[in-house]
């Protein structure tokens, strides 16, 4: 198999604006059009990944050029875009470029937020669907599994997913650093801004137990509380309610400060100094900055959180560079495997392995004999040679047999697996 037979056609947040990506999304309840893709000219194997930020078709083709063009026509068929436009918004990678690209996608090096873990799950799901529909074969099976293990390796060997790089995740991370486990804790939303909602959602995903919504307009508080299955309160109840919450997210539209240091101080006494984490995402600010001076109270405003995110992003970029090195290394290894998927290198590898076994077994047998004559040595060598030659005859014929091109890679994969030709641990004939 030649590496150039692998191709990836796709578009993502870097190449296409959101309006275009929306038109392409094959997500939701619609089944992926794998059958149609398989019927495209030259297509032997295929898999399709579709998320809100990217659509990718990964395929193996006998005629990469034709398949690539057909895939593009297929993908943009209903979009109303001209051929030039569809070329402008998409990318087509083949060979090593395609391998490198998929490894980067799986490891989340190509994502909008580098290091976010969701993409790997989506890729695994895409593979599951494709293999269930029998659209993957020896090459894609190996290729996609390899992309999962590369992603895992990068996650283990670098700190790429180590720190939060969005405001709401930074808030969650800080909350955990201050309060430990978030299970059973209570969060209060003061005001009802969109960002506060988002932050509250993230906190709920982390196990926050209860949400209290406090708002100037009580009706709005009730509406929002309903969404989180929480309770609502009026602004006059703010201080009383504050005694029971662990995290406060404030985002009112008020022009002045809503909560002052001297108001929080007695609340802390009532709370027996239980720690309180305050997040002020309103502009202008809602919470008196001096509140942070109180013991066991931690106040972060939007600039503080942005600062945390910037530090984390810089840290991730450094880690991403390490990830790229791993991708380069793994791409090279995968290329070697692909090269081995040609018939001649596989036969050579098979003979080499047999030769190693022959050598070691002959040496072992001769070592056990007392002073064998040159004739005996020659006979034993011949015997070993003859057994190996006859044993390999049929597998080699099987490899060379005429048949469909798509069966060729299956046959190669089978023989390579049967004789463990890709397993470096079994190079040593003693281990067989």
């Amino acid at each position: 198999m030649q590496a150039e037979n692998i191709l990836i056609l796709g578009l993502n947040h870097k190449t296409a604006p959101v309006e275009i990506r929306e038109k392409m999304a094959f997500s939701g309840d619609n089944p992926l059009p794998l059958k149609e893709l398989m019927s495209l000219e030259g297509c032997v194997e295929c898999c399709m990944l579709s998320t809100c930020n990217r659509v990718e078709i990964i395929s193996v083709s006998k005629h990469p050029d034709q398949t690539g063009r057909a895939m593009r026509r297929f993908l943009f068929g209903n979009s109303g875009l001209s051929e030039d436009e569809s070329e402008k918004y998409s990318y087509l990678h083949t060979g090593d470029d395609a391998v490198r690209h998929l490894f980067r996608v799986g490891a989340s090096l190509d994502s909008m937020i580098v290091g976010e873990p969701q993409i790997l799950g989506q890729l695994k799901q895409a593979y599951k669907i494709a293999s269930e529909k029998n659209c993957t074969g020896a090459i894609l099976n190996r290729f996609l599994h390899k992309s999962f293990s590369v992603a895992k390796r990068i996650r283990t060997e670098t700190n790429i997913g180590g720190s939060a790089v969005s405001i709401s995740f930074a808030a969650v991370e800080l909350a955990k650093k201050i309060l430990g486990e978030l299970k059973g804790k209570t969060v209060m939303l003061l005001g009802a801004g969109e960002m506060a909602e988002l932050a509250a959602e993230h906190l709920i995903n982390q196990g926050i137990d209860h949400v209290v919504v406090v708002n100037r307009t009580f009706e709005n508080a009730v509406k929002l509380a309903k969404r989180f299955n929480g309770s609502a309160a009026g602004l006059d109840e703010l201080l009383t309610k504050l005694e029971d919450v662990d995290i406060l997210i404030s985002s009112t539209g008020a022009t002045d400060l809503v909560l002052l240091r001297d108001q929080v101080k007695p609340v802390m006494k009532q709370r027996m100094n239980r720690p309180l984490f305050l997040i002020d995402i309103a502009v202008p600010r809602d919470l008196d900055p001096e509140i942070n001076d109180l013991d066991n109270v931690y106040l972060y405003d939007i600039d503080d959180l942005k600062h945390v995110v910037d530090i984390n992003k810089a840290e991730r970029d450094k880690e991403a560079a390490k990830g790229e090195r791993i991708v380069a290394e793994e791409t090279m290894k995968f290329r070697q495997w692909l090269d081995g998927m040609e018939i001649t290198p596989t036969i050579v590898a098979l003979r080499k392995k047999a030769g190693l076994i022959w050598e070691s077994e002959v040496a072992r047998t001769l070592a056990k004999m007392d002073d064998p004559s040159p004739e005996t040595i020659e006979s034993i060598k011949k015997l070993g040679n003859a057994i190996i030659g006859k044993l390999l005859h049929n597998p080699i014929l099987y490899l060379k047999s005429e048949g469909h091109e798509e069966n060729k890679s299956e046959r190669l994969a089978l023989v390579r697996q049967l004789f463990a030709l890709d397993d470096s641990d079994t190079d040593d004939p003693e281990s067989l």
């Binding site: 800080l174 430990g180 027996m272 530090i311």
Partner: protein
């Protein structure tokens, strides 16, 4: 015996060095190496203490060398017992230097075997002294946790994340460590004072004599009692609890050594 002590000391030094390097480069293998090395040091140290017991024929807590070495042993096993039940990120990094510092003091003290003075020839010696020192071991854990708390809290409060933020556990976990260490250390400290008092009655005919060591142990006890009381009634938790754990431990150290060095005389002066 000296050789075994030196070997133990070296393993502790190695543990501390490994933990320190791990703290900076965060290589997981180093952390594992440091942990195993700490266990090996703890076992060697136990062997040394038992060996000394067999040779001298009495519990080896009577000279400064023995008391401090036993103290280090208590911190080590206190830490290992805690680590076995709970996980506090990088706790070993902060505990191992405390142990090594104690071992250094023990190494610099005279390691000679001494005759047991008549006043100490009692069954109460192993009971009283080992409980008292074990209590100090747990108070040392609270001290290490307190330092970790203050370092972590400073970065979170000032919003300047440096070396410690990602490397230290949550403030909650550190506060729990403080609570656990005091909840174990304080009853032991109380028991140490009670057994000492009973022993004093047997040896000298009176439960309490206001000997400097007794006075200071009472001051330390009151300090820790206040810490616990304030923790549960006035909400002195977290930062204040961490500061108090540090102050309390310094008082405990003063009771153990300071009294002997600074205040001459007293009934406990044999241990200097």
């Amino acid at each position: 015996m000296t050789l075994l002590f030196q070997l133990t000391f070296l393993i502790y030094l190695f543990t501390t060095a490994t933990y320190t390097v791990f703290f900076f480069n965060q290589n997981e293998r180093l952390r594992l190496l440091a942990r195993y090395s700490m266990i090996v040091a703890g076992i060697a140290h136990l062997g040394y203490t038992i060996g000394r017991y067999i040779i001298s024929g009495h519990t080896p807590i009577t000279s400064n060398h023995e008391a401090v070495s036993f103290f280090a042993l208590a911190v080590t096993w206190g830490y290992l017992s805690y680590r076995w039940r709970y996980k506090v990120k990088n706790f070993g990094v902060f505990v191992s230097p405390v142990i090594t510092a104690l071992m250094l003091v023990a190494a610099l003290s005279s390691q000679q075997f001494s005759e047991l003075p008549p006043a100490l020839q009692s069954l109460w010696l192993p009971v009283h002294a080992s409980i008292a020192i074990l209590a100090n071991g747990f108070l040392a854990l609270a001290f290490s946790g307190g330092i970790m708390y203050l370092l972590q809290e400073r970065e979170i409060k000032n919003k300047r994340f440096g070396l410690f933020y990602s490397r230290l556990p949550s403030l909650e976990a550190l506060d729990n460590l403080n609570r656990y260490s005091l909840a174990t250390g304080f009853p032991l400290l109380t028991l140490g004072i009670i057994t000492g008092s009973i022993w004093a009655k047997q040896a000298w005919g009176s439960y309490w004599q206001w000997d400097p060591k007794e006075t200071w142990s009472l001051i330390t006890w009151f300090l820790y009692a206040a810490i616990l009381h304030l923790r549960f009634t006035a909400g002195w938790r977290r930062r204040r609890a961490a500061i108090m754990a540090i102050i309390g431990f310094l008082a405990a150290l003063f009771t153990l050594w300071g009294v002997n060095f600074l205040i001459v005389g007293g009934l406990h002066s044999y241990a200097s």
